[in-house]
């Protein structure tokens, strides 16, 4: 393994230092604040590209691991590592951050400093989530990330921003707090928070969870992730959060935050609780499929453009969940790919919606109409992105969707058939909304003089479009790097078929398996008698 | 020969009456008195137990309780005076500015 030094730590904490540096600037130094924030994020992006150099292709394990003791009791360690799956999610994060900063260049005019600090702190949290190999550390970043996001929505958002911010936090917290219980429970059973160690224990059969325990643990984790994804019917925070968030917030939210959920499923739910995952797969898939169709149908009829894109995320992420819970190498790779693709294309959609908002200060589709005439370039970009979002081949959306459906079809053709109907519906809502926004005669006079994309916007959009195209054509660049990791996840789901091992439990096992069964009060009552 | 039970039952009855008085009375001073009643019930129990076991420390306890009661009385009556002065009422039900 090539030595990457403390690259991962640098990746996590570099933006934090950037944010710290920003704190020392004067409040009204808007220009410097923006430039420094942008520079920091670009440098961070370059750092993350170094990962590509150090990560060995074809190895499914964790690389560039960093390990330091943090808290002795309970043994919580600062354990980082990257594998093919997290690799690109990190790069996606570091890529979208400078884009978000650019997108906020002019649209954020008050409390500028705080805004960029929050954005960079958000990056810290998200990168941390993707790189943590210690359950506790993971949870920590998972929670920490909430606050900057909530602030981004709550301070710089639109009319109902406060409602949305609170809803976002509470929803997420409701799930994550149960995950914390699950994490602790798992710790009780295994005596460690270290993911690879737990994995080793479970996989080798040295520790077997009772089915009921495993299912409860699975649910504890899954709920947190499902809320984040969001899986139907836990999705209602998303439209609100998206609509109210500022553009940068939406981009980060859709681009990376949602992926934390699906990432968590791949990283934790499947490898740690395979039996429960298999048992639950049917339900999860049904929910995912409902999400796909339902999200698309509801998106179709939204009068609010941003909400439409938000609901489309529900639909797209349904594909990802489906791909994960098909337990197929192909579909899983598709799921990872779809995460990345969705990050780019939906991110770009939000950017575009944000640009429209900057011009007209509304998201209502009915307020637009015929915009292709005053702003052909923006219209072209929008179309391009919409096409990638609806899964046109040679653009990024296709690869993931295709692989997911293909992989799913191999084992559950009905799932794939239902899910594939989402392909039709995505065309419906995207093209319909596109038509209403851009085509036709200009319906409102004030739209006539709207300026086309500025140079800055063009650069942002061209970058996004370039990545979209590149991902659509050169997908092996990505799949090569995470194929082995996906395979590893599937291998990690294997458990030795040795019943005698399960029958002779080590000490922690009894604790875990007897769990709720033995209630202390009966004991005390017995003694009292 | 009075069985200890008798004392204890009396103590319980007095305690119960004290509790009832506390809940039932409206006058702050009367309520305070019912606390004293409860403490007296406790004292009776202490002395009874002390006697029953032939141990002296129960009686020591009673002395402490009496001292504490005295101290409480001083502070409590101070508070009552404060309330009465500010509100011109000793009805505890009228003192409900802080609620919900």
């Amino acid at each position: 393994m090539a030595s990457g030094g403390h690259l991962l730590s640098v990746l996590i904490f570099f933006p934090a230092f950037g944010a710290l540096a920003l704190l020392f600037l004067r409040h009204d130094d808007h220009k410097y604040i923006r430039y420094i924030a942008f520079t920091v994020s670009v440098v961070e992006f370059v750092f993350s590209l170094w990962l590509l150099r150090y990560v060995t292709i074809g190895s499914g394990g964790y690389q560039l691991q960093e390990f330091a003791k943090w808290i002795q009791s309970p043994p919580i360690n600062y354990h980082l590592g990257v594998d093919g799956i997290s690799l690109f999610l990190v790069i996606l994060t570091t890529f979208l951050t400078p884009i978000s900063i650019l997108a906020s260049w002019n649209s954020i005019q008050h409390r500028v400093k705080e805004f960029f600090v929050m954005l960079l702190m958000l990056e810290v949290g998200v990168v941390g989530v993707f790189l943590s190999l210690d359950l506790f550390l993971f949870f920590l970043f998972w929670e920490v990330m909430l606050i900057p996001m909530a602030f981004l929505i709550g301070i710089w958002g639109h009319e109902r921003r406060i409602y949305a911010a609170v809803k976002f936090v509470l929803y997420t917290m409701a799930g994550s707090i149960l995950m914390l219980v699950g994490i602790i429970w798992l710790y009780n059973a295994t005596g460690t928070f270290d993911l690879p160690a737990i994995q080793q224990l479970l996989q080798s059969g040295a520790l077997a969870l009772a089915p009921r325990t495993e299912m409860l643990l699975f649910l504890a984790f899954f709920l947190a992730f499902a809320i984040k994804v969001p899986l139907f019917p836990l999705h209602t925070w998303l439209p609100d959060a998206h609509v109210e968030a500022p553009t940068a917030g939406s981009v980060m939210l859709a681009g990376v935050l949602l992926k934390m959920g699906t990432y968590g499923m791949m990283r934790f739910c499947l490898p740690l609780f395979p039996a429960a995952s298999r048992k639950a797969a049917w339900w999860v898939a049904v929910l995912a499929i409902i999400g796909i169709i339902y999200g698309a149908l509801v998106a179709m009829v939204q009068p609010n453009l941003k909400k439409l894109v938000a609901y489309s995320s529900v639909s797209h992420l349904g594909f990802v969940v489906l791909g994960i819970f098909a337990f197929q190498n192909i579909s899983m790779q598709g799921a990872v790919y779809q995460m990345l693709a969705h990050g780019i294309s939906t991110g770009a959609l939000f950017l575009l919606v944000g640009m429209l908002y900057d011009r007209r200060h509304t998201f209502e589709i009915s307020e637009f109409g015929g915009l292709a005439t005053p702003m052909p370039k923006l219209a072209a970009f929008f179309l391009f992105v919409a096409l990638s979002s609806l899964g046109l081949p040679m653009l990024n959306g296709f690869v993931g969707e295709y692989l997911i459906l293909l992989g799913t079809y191999l084992v559950h053709w009905k799932w794939a058939a239902w899910a594939a109907s989402g392909v039709i519906l995505s065309a419906c809502y995207l093209l319909w909304s596109y038509q209403r926004v851009f085509f036709g005669e200009i319906t409102q006079e004030k739209n006539r003089a709207l300026p086309d994309a500025s140079a800055r916007e063009k650069w942002i959009l061209a970058t996004m479009a370039g990545v979209t195209l590149w991902m659509g054509i050169n997908s092996p660049f990505f799949t090569h790097r995470f194929a082995a990791s996906c395979q590893t996840v599937l291998e990690q789901m294997q458990r030795p078929q040795r019943p005698e091992l399960a029958a002779i439990p080590s000490k922690p096992v009894t604790q875990a398996s007897d769990a709720v069964a033995a209630t202390p009060p009966q004991d005390s009552a017995g003694k009292a008698r | 020969m009075v069985p200890t039970n008798y004392y204890l039952i009396l103590s319980a009855i007095l305690f119960g009456l004290g509790v009832f008085a506390f809940v039932f009375k409206r006058n702050v001073i009367a309520i305070f008195m019912s606390i004293e009643l409860m403490l007296n019930a406790v004292n009776l129990a202490f002395v009874a137990f002390s006697q029953a076991m032939g141990k002296l420390d129960g009686q020591v306890f009673v002395l402490f309780v009496i001292v504490v009661a005295a101290a409480e009385a001083a502070v409590g009556l101070g508070i009552i005076i404060l309330i009465a002065r500010n509100r011109q009422s000793l009805n505890v039900e009228r003192v409900d500015l802080l609620k919900l």
């Binding site: 809803k167 509470l170 999705h235 209602t236 339902y294 149908l297 509801v298 179709m300 009829v301 197929q328 190498n329 192909i330 790779q333 292709a372 052909p376 046109l392 081949p393 040679m394 690869v399 295709y402 692989l403 459906l405 293909l406 079809y409 191999l410 053709w413 794939a416 058939a417 594939a420 109907s421 392909v423 039709i424 065309a427 093209l431 319909w432 038509q435 851009f438 085509f439 036709g440 005669e441 054509i473 997908s475 092996p476 799949t479 194929a483 009966q522 005390s524 009552a525 009292a528 008698r529 | 509790v19 506390f22 809940v23 039932f24 505890v92 039900e93 003192v95 409900d96 802080l98 919900l100």
Partner: protein, 658 residues
């Protein structure tokens, strides 16, 4: 083998042209845009020609010629490469696409010269060429699907070219979405193929499939289902029942687009896919039967609608749908080469018809309603002659191209085992109708009384950039048929079928078994029947529209119900709107969004929050501020605590404590 080794050049040229025009063309004068677009297509055409030349030098074992350029998608054992392939079928398609495509590009330079968004148009058109070529050159289903979706996209863009018109953007959207419905099936078909054969490369799939046991008639095995799913995609793309609805609307696009995409090339992609997958289809007789029936039904269905349409392009559109049905009929009865042959000839004469119609529209200053034309034959002679040629060809008059291709199809249908005679009968009826409505078009447009106002419409012949392609296509319509002139005719070699024979080696074995001589005589008989049918159509049209001009109207009046049904296209659009679109939108809006999402789910979420607040609000009334009630709470608490602590005693042995 310079080009065959680098097949990607053929594709890349139009893509480059598209990119250059699209990104930079907005400020360029038309000439430069022309240069780029025509250069790209022309060079691509030349490259294709060279490729075909080189192809003929290949040894038979080198065919199909497959070249892998780069890996596009790799995941597990799934690989979709950017692999191109050339075989005889590809050659035919390649020539049609690049050839007709180039001609239409030339035509467009004239036709579109006064339109805004000139660069945009050519960018889209080149993009279409790229995707169409990808489609025909692809060596696996996934890459084919790229082209498949890509042409859909180009079609969307071009139909909606006049995006200021709502009808245009509606039509584009409709085209894309209806195609997507087909693609849904196509994708599932691909998945099934992959599941069965672990690959999507044509070579691998077909060689593996050949070893399979064919499904019997009525059996829904893997092959049948896969074939049907693929056919579903083909239905969408090739506008077959029930997914044909988008094509007539697609006439909202500029006429060259209708010619290129919605007549000559893209819409035939479905036929191409079916023939490409003929091996799967032939092993699935049920699917074959479905294909034949759908094709036949579409053919006659669309033809009937075509009878009463008054928009010149719509007539042609329904005619296209009808002719595509013919092609599927051919495929369905196993006559793949006949289907492809009809595809080719149809590309010639239908493109010609559209272009000529475009020329007419151009001449009329944008008027498309045939009832407002009339008597144009004198004024735009070149257009008239070329269009007449095409009409004769499509109606099936010998010795024009349409005659041979149609005849071949009818013959094969007649011989088909499953209800062949019925299929033949309907096919023949379609031919009659085709002849009728095509001549109706000719008579209404070019003959009879002038129905327009001279002062407003200055009829003028089109420039040579437009007429040139017309003439070339007319020639092709005339001679093209001889490529496949049946062997029984003088000079007939049936070259076309022989050329394609290696491709359909598996599929058309049935044909070979037929007794040569008997077949020839039968074919001759049928050809005669077909000819007279076409003639009948011509005569009826002549009688109704030239001889007795009022007859058509009175007939329409006497059969009002049928007439309005036809005029409204059997109300299929309305049906779809009422059964699918509106309920779906209503369901989504009022049920899913308003009731389920906002009401039920979010309502539950907010309800929990409100509920907690309400409970808190109730709970704080215990906090009455009254010291006495607080004391009661303490007493209650004491009792609860005592109860909880003593509870275990009560449970096991009640009565221990009173």
């Amino acid at each position: 083998m310079p080009i065959l080794e680098h097949l990607w050049i053929i594709l890349l040229l139009p893509l480059l042209g598209s990119a250059i025009n699209g990104l930079l063309g907005s400020k360029w004068p038309n000439k430069i845009v022309n240069g780029v677009a025509l250069g790209a297509t022309g060079l691509s055409f030349l490259a294709a020609l060279e490729a075909v030349r080189e192809f003929f030098q290949l040894r038979p074992e080198q065919i199909p010629w497959v070249r892998q350029y780069f890996d596009w998608i790799i995941a597990g054992n799934f690989r979709a490469g950017f692999d191109l392939q050339v075989d005889q079928l590809t050659v035919v398609m390649l020539m049609v696409v690049t050839g007709v495509g180039f001609l239409i590009h030339v035509y467009s330079t004239g036709y579109m010269s006064h339109e805004g968004g000139y660069y945009r148009f050519f960018s889209y058109l080149n993009l279409f060429m790229f995707f169409m070529l990808t489609l025909v050159l692809a060596a696996n289903y996934v890459l084919l699907f790229v082209g498949w979706e890509g042409v859909g996209l180009s079609s969307y863009l071009l139909i909606g070219f006049y995006f200021l018109r709502k009808s245009a953007s509606d039509a584009g959207k409709k085209a894309f979405i209806v195609n997507r419905i087909g693609d849904f099936g196509f994708m599932l078909g691909m998945f099934l193929v992959f599941r069965a054969f672990h690959s999507l490369d044509f070579q691998t799939v077909f060689s593996a499939a050949a070893k399979w046991q064919a499904d019997t008639y009525g059996q829904f095995g893997t092959l049948t289902i896969a074939s049907l799913l693929l056919f579903m995609g083909a239905c969408g793309k090739s506008a077959q029942l029930p997914l044909y609805v988008w094509l007539p609307d697609a006439m909202e696009g500029p006429t060259p687009v209708s010619a290129l995409i919605h007549a000559a090339t893209m819409v035939t992609a479905g036929v191409y896919v079916v023939t490409r997958s003929h091996l799967l289809f032939t092993m699935a007789p049920t699917a074959m039967f479905v294909v034949a029936v759908v094709g036949c039904a579409t053919a006659i269905f669309a033809a009937t609608i075509g009878l009463v349409q008054t928009d010149i392009k719509r007539v042609l559109a329904y005619s296209t749908v009808s002719q595509l049905g013919y092609m599927f009929l051919a495929c369905g009865v196993g006559a793949f080469s006949a289907g492809i042959f009809h595809l080719m000839t149809h590309a010639f004469f239908k493109a010609l018809l559209f272009l000529a119609a475009g020329s007419v529209i151009h001449a009329m200053g944008g008027e498309q309603d045939m009832r407002r034309m009339g008597g144009l034959s004198k004024k735009i002679r070149w257009t008239y002659f070329t269009m007449l040629t095409a009409t004769l060809a499509i109606a099936g008059f010998p010795p024009l191209a349409g005659f041979f291709s149609k005849d071949s199809i009818l013959f094969n249908a007649f011989q088909s085992e499953n209800g062949g005679h019925v299929l033949y009968g309907f096919g023949l009826l379609t031919a009659l109708l085709t002849s009728f409505y095509m001549f109706r078009l000719i008579f209404l447009t070019f003959f009879g009384k002038q129905q327009y106002d001279e002062h407003h419409v200055h009829v003028h012949e089109s420039p040579w950039s437009m007429l040139g392609p017309l003439v070339i296509l007319a020639l092709l319509s005339v001679v093209g048929g001889w490529l496949a002139a049946p062997a029984f005719l003088p000079g007939g070699t049936d070259y076309f079928a022989k050329f394609l024979a290696p491709v359909f080696a598996h599929g058309e074995s049935a044909e070979a078994a037929v007794d040569e001589a008997a077949a020839h005589s039968l074919e001759l008989t049928l050809a005669g029947v077909a000819f007279f049918t076409a003639l009948a159509g011509l005569l009826v049209a002549f009688w109704m529209y030239l001889k007795r001009p009022g007859k058509a109207d009175s007939l329409a009046k006497s059969m009002r119900g049928a007439y309005t049904t036809l005029l409204n296209k059997y109300y299929v659009d309305e049906l779809y709107a009422a059964v699918v679109v509106k309920p779906l939108v209503a369901l989504s809006t009022s049920v899913l969004w308003k009731i389920v999402d906002v009401g039920a789910i979010d309502g539950t979420v907010n309800g929990i929050a409100d509920g907690a607040t309400a409970v808190g609000d109730q709970a704080r009334h215990t906090q009455s501020g009254n010291t006495r009630s607080y004391a009661v709470w303490v007493v209650i608490g004491a009792i609860v605590i005592i109860a909880v602590i003593f509870w275990p005693l009560f449970k096991p042995a009640a009565g221990m404590v009173r």
